[in-house]
Amino acid sequence: MRMGTVIGRVTLAVRNKRFVGERLLLTLPWKSETFGGAAKFAPAIVVYDELGANIGQHIAISEGREAACPFPKPTPVDAYCAALVDEHFYQNKP
């Protein structure tokens, strides 16, 4: 799971029939430099959210096939908000 910062919401006018009451977050995934305090991010992605993350919050993004696992029926999701990160500690590699 990559860490990410929520920067916005995406709202659909017309939706895939598998999406019901979806909440989509525009999120900047973190890079290595981001953990060190630099404002450098990977390109923004859209993340499916069921936990209620707010703009500005840090989240853990599950990507790939695992992002669709929480859904009992097959759902076309490739990025899923798995956790709202309260705090994190990071120190550079020795």
Binding site: M3, S62, P70, A83, L84, D86, E87, Y90, Q91
Partner: protein, 87 residues
């Protein structure tokens, strides 16, 4: 599978129920093409240690015991630095 260094940890209150009680470590892969990942650990890896991580989600789902878990990365082993070799 990647070798990575444990560089920190994350704490979370609101999370997918399958992640309750799990240590969430920040692992920085030794190859720079992959961003640092939050990984599940049940081996007790410490900050500064080199570990082997895997993106096998089915193993992660077995670890947490929930088929509907979004978990993907997990620690497979802690590397013995004295008996590992890189040229």
């Amino acid at each position: 599978m990647r070798t990575a260094t444990i560089c920190g940890y994350a704490t979370s209150t609101v999370k997918h129920p399958s992640l309750d009680g799990w240590r969430l470590l920040i692992a920085e892969p030794d190859s720079p093409d992959l961003a640092p990942q939050i990984v599940l650990d049940n081996l007790g890896a410490a900050i500064g240690q080199q570990v082997l991580i895997s993106s096998d989600g089915s193993e992660a789902r077995k670890m947490v015991g929930d088929n509907l878990s979004p978990a993907r990365w997990s620690v497979l082993g802690i590397i013995d630095p004295e008996r590992s070799l890189a040229i």
